[in-house]
Symmetry: C4
Subunit: 220 residues, 4 copies
């Protein structure tokens, strides 16, 4: 299977999962003034925003990885499917997180579920990249082994940070939520995806990648 | 990242958000005649129709903007993600709006939430365009600085109108809803997207854009 | 705007609307044997199947129409958006239909809502085609005026049939539901989309269309 | 209609159906400790995971089949639509399955519904392939009749296994669920989709298929 098809299917799952997040923000029931009720829903808004940024960052990361992975074999398909299974699961811990903060109880449990889900995803991302880089078959010839290793090391940061944030969250839940947001905004921060993350994703130059692989007709 | 991928992902979010709107129209519970109950749901139908037109207009505007933006760097990715976060949020204020009109209370609060969301989106659209036009990197060479400025000025109309409509809505809610609809139908009105909006989107000729960038093989 | 982008967005809405239909089939609450309850949901299954076939036929019809429409101006965008608004609305009358048959009351009201929605869609489809064919700008040069008129006449069948079926449904609801299904299965029936509908869609030969427009590189 | 369009639409339905699965995992209501409640939802998690793998395998199988089917006539469109109707139905038996295990009753009924749905899908897949292979029109010239027959025989395994698993499930429900999972993981297991399934899908070499049909520009 070409990675085109795999990427299009994955993008579909990302786009749907990110848009379904809003379904967890329930309209407050009638009776009494609407304004205070809407303000009281702030945990739902925060959970929505955090998960939106998280899935956005996962999407960009996935795309960056598949600029190097040019062939998809059976193992990669299965690993990618497991990745998507966790991504598509995220609306549930998001809803649990909002629900716990709304009720004011069990926030630490909800934060642990959320962080644990992200940590599992981080591990699966690493497994997928290790498989792709070890075999050398799935990734293209433009990437040296040293570059592949460098990306692999950078990817280890994810599950490590999520693991630590989850442990912190068991003690002070809202700090963990803040960490989930900050880590992903930091990842998405301009310059990182561009130049900083060029080291991470091994890109030499974004525009040359475009010329070579995605808009071949313009280079003629 | 190429804008192709970014546009496809954004289109996915637009298409999903616009189709999810119907989930807010709840089937009335049994007991008693169905006909009057279905007619009584008119606020849900109006909210559905208004938001459908609004998201449709946002989609067309987004597409128009990305006919000029040809390169996506990290900042643009982040700004676009924030835009999508507000677009995917719209089903919630839509449901709140319908709910408030159905209950006959707090319509002004619901209208303010709806208009406020659109105003925030309008501001984010402006920030995205200003970033793209200032740096001159993301947008293609076919657009002069004067044209880019002209588009920028035209885009300021959005948040201004939504801001004013929201303030009016605090006094007479249904006028604001009407304004949201009229503004977007006016934007979509034939001739504006075509020739009128050609000034706004800076297009010289729709068919030439097609020949150059999207169907290069037909021009040979 | 190219029709490529418009078609991709429309396809997204079709695919989402058709897949959201299942959300209207609710899991029966616990207590008592599951088997009879699941069997008792038959109106939900019928409504799901009918709407799935209906949206499938609309999708194929939309695709057939846009094999002739090669340019999208502002009017066409607006008309297409109105078409999609009705398509994305269909999960609601579907759920109402299932709900009415499940409760055993008001079936005629529900059938009228369903049929009325389809009739409105049928009219909008006609308006879109008339606009495209009259102006002669949106449709490609491969279609003669006589062929365009022939398609226009064939498209009138839709709203006429749905109108009649709705009136019948006010008297004997389940006959109308059967008609909705039969009309669309008949439309989809092998040979019609192929050769029979070749007259309707004005196709000369499916494979030649493919060679010319969608896989140009293989013909070289 | 080209298979490109049909495949894109089908992929959309697969991606949406697989991502909607999470909506069946309901946030537990407040009151009492959250942790035990979340653990008590294990049937929901299992149902989610099983259906995710099942739909993933169906998607890959569908894609493999349409590497051979290069032309879509009316019959194929209708058969494919029926296939998608069953795929998009899967979130319902998934929710029923989770619900039955959560309540601890009627698991055998729920398992039978789930397995029956998969068996029906398996039969429809066979019908679609038999139609494509018999007529010889839809499939490309690269496939010999013997290869087409071989694929046809391999596809018979699906409904047979699902039928048997369903019968077992009437006696020992959880064994059937395990079988649904194992069969699909086995199908997805690395080497099968790659080389093993090359016999099934009739592929000679994945990379050559890519060169010939999907990335023609790279072979020049």
């Amino acid at each position: 299977m070409t990675t085109n098809r795999l990427e299009a299917f994955s993008d579909g799952v990302f786009a749907i999962a990110i848009t379904l997040l809003i379904l967890a923000v329930a309209v407050p029931p009638g009776g009494g003034a609407f304004g205070p009720k809407l303000l009281g829903l702030w945990p739902s808004y925060v959970a929505y925003a955090v998960s939106f940024v998280v899935i956005g960052a996962i999407w960009i990361n996935h795309h960056g990885m598949f600029q190097h992975i040019v062939r998809a074999d059976g193992t990669l398909l299965l690993l990618n499917l497991l990745n998507l299974m966790v991504v598509a699961f995220l609306p549930f811990p998001t809803a649990v997180l909002a629900s716990a903060f709304l009720q004011g109880t069990d926030a630490s449990t909800a934060v642990a579920l959320y962080g644990g889900t992200l940590a599992v995803l981080g591990i699966l991302v690493n497994v997928m990249w290790q498989y792709a880089a070890r075999g050398r078959r799935p990734i293209g010839p433009h990437l040296t082994e040293a570059q592949a290793d460098q990306i692999g090391r950078a990817l280890l940061v994810g599950p490590a940070v999520y693991g630590v944030a989850t442990l912190i969250g068991l003690l002070v839940p809202w700090i963990a939520v803040l960490l989930y947001l900050v880590v992903n905004v930091f990842y998405l921060w301009p310059g990182r995806v561009n130049e900083g993350a060029a080291a991470v994703t091994g890109e030499r130059d974004a525009s040359s990648v475009v010329d070579e692989s995605e808009e071949p007709q313009t280079s003629r």
